[in-house]
């Protein structure tokens, strides 16, 4: 098979997703490509690239949310609105919601182009770093 860059593959997948092509089909194609190239370990990178293309080209932002407690519907909506506003997105997809008690409180939002961290844990760490100088 002709060597294609990961970026090109990501663009292809993003385009197909936007057109509404079956996700399973696209996943199979992508996995086959990676297997052929011997780069199955890079599948996460490919996913990130696809997200990046979707956000850049189609203003479809995917977000990964981490909170100290499970999200309720209101908070989820508020987060989506926030992401749409800050990323200037036409639509937002929350790809994953992770509960991490170590955050103590607040939220960490990860999009292809940004990371928004308002967790209590990070604030405490910042405080410690500032005090230590």
């Amino acid at each position: 098979m002709q060597k294609i860059t990961r970026r090109k593959v990501a663009e292809y997948v993003a385009d197909q997703l936007h057109r509404g092509v079956s996700t399973k089909k696209l996943v199979d194609q992508a996995v086959a490509y990676l297997k052929d190239q011997g780069k199955l370990a890079d599948w996460e990178l490919l996913v990130r690239d696809v997200e990046d293309v979707l956000a850049r080209k189609y203003h479809v932002v995917s977000a990964r949310i981490t909170t100290a407690r499970a999200l309720d519907a209101d908070t989820r909506k508020a987060l989506k609105d926030f992401i749409m506003q800050t990323e200037k997105a036409q639509s937002v997809t929350i790809v994953s919601e992770t509960v991490d008690a170590d955050l103590i409180g607040g939220v960490v939002v990860r999009t292809p182009s940004n990371v928004f961290d308002s967790s209590v844990q990070s604030k405490l760490k910042q405080l410690v770093a500032t005090t230590k100088g």
Partner: protein, 180 residues
């Protein structure tokens, strides 16, 4: 010959009974004796005395020369003695000077060594002080960091207990509002 003359004089003397005879002097014998004495003196003067006197003079000269040589040798010995004493004196002075110089140099070396040791000791003390100050600063910083960590841990524990689901939701909403 002398015996013949004396015999003739004695026989002739017996015949004289004048003043000379009163004195017991026989003028013929006297004259003969005078003649004999003169001859003796002449012979001695001609043949004996010159050699004798020559020998005496020679001996005297030799003695004088010996005396002069002895004097000269004595003078030389005295001179040499003086020179030797002078040399000894000079040697003593030089050795005294060397010893004095050595003493001074030794004293200087001791002084220098003392000054060096003192300086080194002061340097060590200064370095130790500086090291101590640095260690103190380091310890203070470490203590401050550890205290900060402890405070953060304690704060974390307290906040964890204080924050419930409601407060967390409020926290998130506030953060989103502030970030807009």
């Amino acid at each position: 010959m002398m015996h013949t003359i004396q015999f003739f004089a004695a026989s002739e003397a017996a015949k004289n009974d004048s003043l000379f005879g009163a004195l017991g002097i026989d003028w013929r014998t006297l004259i003969l004796q005078i003649i004999a004495f003169s001859i003796l003196v002449w012979i001695l003067g001609k043949f004996v005395y010159p050699h004798l006197i020559g020998a005496i003079d020679k001996r005297e000269k030799a003695i004088e020369e010996s005396v002069a040589a002895a004097h000269e040798a004595e003078a030389k010995a005295e001179q040499t003695q003086k020179e030797v004493e002078q040399l000894f004196k000079k040697a003593r002075e030089e050795s005294a000077a060397i010893v004095d110089t050595a003493h001074k140099e030794a004293a200087n070396m001791v002084k220098e060594a003392e000054a060096k040791a003192k300086k080194r000791a002061e340097q060590i003390v200064a370095d130790a002080r500086a090291q101590l100050d640095q260690d103190i600063l380091k310890a203070r910083a470490q203590l401050r960091d550890e205290a900060t960590e402890l405070v953060a841990l304690a704060t974390e524990k307290i906040i964890r207990e204080k924050i419930d689901t409601k407060k967390d939701k409020t926290l998130i909403e506030t953060a989103l509002k502030e970030a807009r």
